[in-house]
Symmetry: C2
Subunit: 445 residues, 2 copies
Amino acid sequence: MSLSRFRSGFAAIIGLLGLATTSMPIAVHAQTAASLTATQSDPRKLGWMTGFPPPDDKVIRFTDSDYFAFPKSRWTVCHFRELMPTVGVSRGPGAAVPFVQRIDPGIDAIRFTPLGGGGAMTWQQAFDANYTDGIVVLHKGVVVYERYAGCLDATGQHGAMSVTKSLTGLLGEMLVAEGVIDDNARVETIVPELRQSAFGDATVRQVLDMTTGLQYSEDYADPNAEVWTYSAAGSPLPRPSDYKGPRSYWEYLKTVRKQGEHGTAFAYKTINTDTMGWIIARKTGKSVARLLAERIWSRMGAEQDGYYTVDSLGTPYAGGGLNAGLRDMARIGELMLEGGTINGKRLVPKTAIDRIRAGGDKAAFAKAGYGLLKGWSYRDMWWITHNEHGAFMARGVHGQTIYVDPVAQMVIARFSSHPTAGNAANDPTSLPAYSAVAEYLMTRP
Amino acid sequence: MSLSRFRSGFAAIIGLLGLATTSMPIAVHAQTAASLTATQSDPRKLGWMTGFPPPDDKVIRFTDSDYFAFPKSRWTVCHFRELMPTVGVSRGPGAAVPFVQRIDPGIDAIRFTPLGGGGAMTWQQAFDANYTDGIVVLHKGVVVYERYAGCLDATGQHGAMSVTKSLTGLLGEMLVAEGVIDDNARVETIVPELRQSAFGDATVRQVLDMTTGLQYSEDYADPNAEVWTYSAAGSPLPRPSDYKGPRSYWEYLKTVRKQGEHGTAFAYKTINTDTMGWIIARKTGKSVARLLAERIWSRMGAEQDGYYTVDSLGTPYAGGGLNAGLRDMARIGELMLEGGTINGKRLVPKTAIDRIRAGGDKAAFAKAGYGLLKGWSYRDMWWITHNEHGAFMARGVHGQTIYVDPVAQMVIARFSSHPTAGNAANDPTSLPAYSAVAEYLMTRP
């Protein structure tokens, strides 16, 4: 395998792993065959990997360059572990704590106006418009809406993409609240290997809030963008004989150069999250996968084990590697809504959740230029709307979402496989829909 | 990557996946560094993959040719999913049904004489002599002995190697008992793709009992042995550009040529089990992983999800790919001991278990020439001792074991990482130990 083929092969891996392309303000990459509707691109309808064995033209292999290109991506989002190495996030031997379910038949008909205009749309119409694979709405902890499509059902698992970051941030802020990590400490004092890198003189706080100044581009149109090197570093696949680059996520982080100053502007760059993963591992002696399992997953009444994709060192991809069941993602939202408790158990100090919900530096956020997210901020790898309900989100490419509305006491967890990675493509038919359902639920008992 | 490098890289994968090298009667391959004792080769002591990140000389990567060579193998047996793609075996959302535990302090001192002579040894001494990673003894369903070492603990998972075959066989015999599969049917009537292969005119029964006549060598000393082609076929790794061979387990099976006649002699060849996996999938519309989860794993009170390694089509490796917690392997033993029930629930028809326990054709077995297993037989991919207790076993390379003794009402589940793959290396200090503990337990209440 040549080096060029090796590198190009990672276009897919990058997408797969949910690197930030799509959460970036400008670059919204349309993908091939994007004109297919949700129904037309249904992976069950297209027959990907169906049959024993599947017919040759229905096979999706990790080594295919298009395994994560739309419409194949609509199968792949539910099957990452069948394609690459992973590490588990155990829920432990106990029973799941099932949600109470009282489906509200009125939700499908709720109407909203998409951002940027266009005709009104119903919640039900938005489901397919956003290529939704599954959505759960909790109101006061009760499931009032739940629907699956595509490759997903209630027992399946789906890539959380960059929603993973918010869990890394939650663990980080939890450790700050517990005094394990000093968020004013410089990164080099915790991970000396990063002393010569841009992260060395950044504080943990700057890493958590992504206000570091880093020479790091995730522009896929640029063949010299650093994201290519990072993706190759994180690959679990064999290296070509002429490969000279870093061989793990962390090895890459050591090479990152500074650009600008830390602490002045928000810039969404995945490598901050993996640096935070390294800080957490060094301080606790546990990977983010293990810490998440011990502190949260095994204590929140989860229905399924989760898992992370890993690099060739077995390091879980803190920036985008989590896969889980949808209801368990809703449990994370409920944990956030309840200020760190769930099922009457405290898992995370309230101060940690309060700090996240309070949000970050709005002026620093504004510099990133997200046209659809005016007035928002970013804190501990969560997106804070600062709307009247104090809503906040975890967001991942292709539409992965945890949306928490404290005033409406509502949590929405969504997995999807929108053909366009960038959430700018689905925000217009998602964010106002969430607000409309929140308003509706506030009229309900 | 050159083709020769690609092929040689699979030496490790073969070992990893538990192909039959070692369960073969003659070829017992010593591996490098085998002179290290269990204590000396303890993976925690050697520090494999310890630290964030591990030091370079402690890293084990899937792409290293020696990742499954002793002593690295003692780490790898617990971490297969971190190295390669897998598919899950879910235990479902319920609570595990914990074992009652009444540890019998007398067991460690039980003495036995190893096969082939040598001085008497205690059960406790045999633990390290066999490079045991974990062992659980159940008596009348109660845990009377449980001990872990190496990479394993009660919450960890370990490769079951060819013990996997016995689960494939159990599923197969279950489907026969239920009338879903006719074991007298010729394989070609169920999987027409195999018509031109050696399997075409074999019966399901011959496949289940491995009395097929196949041109298939698992002799690693022979570079032209078919096992190399099979292993390359099952690899999840990218193919070299000059690779022309089969690209999945099942694609390989279509190429197997006949040698001798079916139904005359037992010959332990892993490809029978993957053929059985194909038959099961075709008949049920479910992979062995899914069927195992639905019919057994989610209903037996399991403590952990299991998983299978998969090929590049996502096909679970029915011949050797299962990984699971040790206590859950003990539950499989208990299910067999109780004739298909566990925790008062029937999971498998009693007739299926009865047929397995009755054993296969002793004369056909004798032709395979296993010096240590005289008088045994092989039925439904279980090894039947035909001893006075009617004991029967699931056996996998490097010492993986489920041992069921109906008279003593005893189940032993063992995971280990013996430096020698072939069980002929550990049988002398294992089989008489099992018998000795059985005799001891029969004197207990």
